[in-house]
């Protein structure tokens, strides 16, 4: 039950069609690193779309990388939902024996993990989303210590995310500090499109 504001605008806009290259890069790096730290099969970041009350896959490393980004599910459901609402990290093990585990998520991912760790992305007392690690290596899960590590890493990721959120971009536009030329409207959209194409090109998927 941590601060999911119902009044203030969301600091992140998962639904935004604008490709935000630095943010994608950051989130991809977060899931890649999380997966590496815990020797996991997969890792994903969900961001909270408060308007729609949904969690949205924003970046995936490992299983599901190609088709999960952009998928949504109700914010109050499943383990990720509990973490997003409670603001608490959580580790669960022995999940594969459970046929009803997180059905919506399992169906959308076509992958049911045996173990799962999840921590909230909290920055400035606000929940931005959830970082999940699927099937971490047995040595790297289940303990309070590992839970702390994941929570700390998620906190760092959230802080970084907040630094580069669209909200900050908007603020910068409204109060330009350096006095340099600011691209507006269509111009900005074109520039962002260009950036997006560039990123796709660099990542070899465009």
């Amino acid at each position: 039950m941590t601060q999911r504001t119902d009044s203030a605008p969301s600091p992140v806009s998962p639904a935004s069609p604008v490709i935000d290259a630095p943010r994608s890069e950051l989130l991809q790096s977060v899931v890649d690193v999380a997966r590496a730290i815990f020797g996991a099969e997969a890792s994903s970041v969900f961001l909270l779309d408060e308007e729609a009350d949904e969690l949205v896959f924003q970046a995936v490393s490992g299983q599901g990388e190609e088709f999960l980004v952009g998928r949504r599910f109700p914010a109050g459901r499943g383990i990720a939902g509990w973490v997003a609402t409670s603001g608490e990290p959580m580790v669960v093990d022995d999940l594969s024996a459970d046929p009803s585990f997180d059905r919506s998520l399992a169906e959308s991912t076509a992958y049911v993990p045996n173990a799962l760790m999840a921590a909230p992305l909290i920055s400035d007392a606000r929940i931005l989303g959830v970082l999940e690690v699927l099937d971490p290596s047995p040595q790297a899960r289940s303990g309070v210590r590992e839970l702390d590590l994941l929570a700390m890493f998620a906190r760092q990721a959230a802080a970084a995310l907040r630094v580069i959120t669209p909200e900050r971009v908007r603020e910068a536009e409204e109060h330009p500090v350096l006095g340099g030329p600011t691209l507006a409207g269509a111009q900005r959209e074109d520039a962002l499109k260009l950036l997006g194409s560039l990123e796709r090109l660099l990542r070899g998927v465009g």
Partner: protein, 310 residues
């Protein structure tokens, strides 16, 4: 905020005489009344705070404020009541309604299972504050907890907290009311060093997780605000679909302590909230019961250990 009347009347307190009748509280002073007018029949509680074997939680009403509880999970058994807090998107009105939906996540079922395991014969009720639209907005948690306090449950398990300071004052008053009405709120400390409520308040019993394997070990923290630690690492708990999983977190240490409270109360129904806390303190594995140290003659400041809260 409106709270609907429950369809089934809340059970009468099962511990007659345990509470001060409402409206007759000794609010401000004892003018015109003496000790004989306010007799109290005390119950010292179990020796060293440890509930005896036969204390199984029977007759104690426990409420789990969480994601709901799966119906008829073999490790939880039947629930005495199942409720949900709902917020109307347009009017903003909040109601508490009976529900047949189980658990939206598994977490509440896990908590209920730990309580059942610890106090097998207690009565478990569930009020779901998660899994509905707007359930993350804090006022749903507030409404669910308030409802539980109004129903005068003996023990409320709250493995949740809010970081939103605008709820802090209201939660504080609610926690104090519960304390005086002998509804013990057992609340999880945040897993990460985050300022949140209501676990920080002295009127609740706050619980974090220790790292020991002993499933029946609890510890007292000489350096609060987290007052107690319970088993929260690698705990096997009931989950959705009648199954079990293993999990870790303060959330799971809390229902163990809630279950302990239910056990103590079942054998000693007249105990107050502060007595209950003392029983947990005395029975904590790290609290030593050394014989009283020799009192030195006046003037000699002997080295007597002080393990009290500062």
């Amino acid at each position: 905020m409106t709270t609907t009347e429950p369809a089934q009347a809340p059970a009468e307190p099962l511990r007659p005489g345990a509470r001060t009748a409402p409206g007759q509280g000794l609010t401000w002073s004892l003018r015109g009344r003496g000790p004989d007018d306010v007799p109290v029949l005390a119950d010292a509680g179990p020796p060293l705070g440890r509930p005896a074997g036969p204390a199984t939680g029977r007759g104690v009403r426990v409420c789990v404020v969480d994601s709901g509880v799966e119906r008829d999970h073999p490790l939880v058994g039947p629930l005495a009541g199942s409720w949900v807090v709902v917020k109307d998107g347009e009017s903003g009105g909040i109601t508490v309604e009976p529900t047949t939906t189980g658990d939206t996540c598994g977490h509440g079922t896990a908590c209920a299972g730990i309580i059942r395991r610890t106090a097998p014969e207690c009565e478990i009720h569930s009020v779901r504050v998660l899994g509905e639209r707007f359930s993350g907005t804090g006022d749903i948690l507030m409404a669910g907890l308030r409802w539980a306090v109004e129903q005068r449950f003996d023990v409320v398990n709250l493995s949740l907290s809010t970081t939103r300071t605008r709820f802090a004052q209201e939660l504080h008053s609610l926690a104090d009311s519960a304390y005086f009405a002998r509804t013990v709120i057992v609340a999880s400390a945040h897993n990460t060093p985050v300022e949140s409520f209501p676990w920080r308040f002295a009127s609740v019993i706050s619980v974090g997780s220790h790292q020991e394997d002993d499933p029946e070990l609890h510890l007292y923290n000489p350096d609060p605000p987290v007052e107690f630690f319970g088993p929260g690492q690698n705990v096997t708990v009931p989950w959705l679909g009648g199954r079990t999983i293993r999990t870790t977190g303060n959330s799971f240490a809390t229902p163990y302590v809630a279950g302990l409270c239910a056990r103590v109360l079942s054998a000693h129904p007249r105990m107050t909230a502060f007595q209950l806390k003392n029983a947990l303190y005395l029975s904590a594995a790290n609290v030593r019961h050394a014989p009283r140290p020799y009192s030195p003659p006046a003037g000699d400041t002997g080295d007597t250990r002080d393990d009290s809260e500062n």
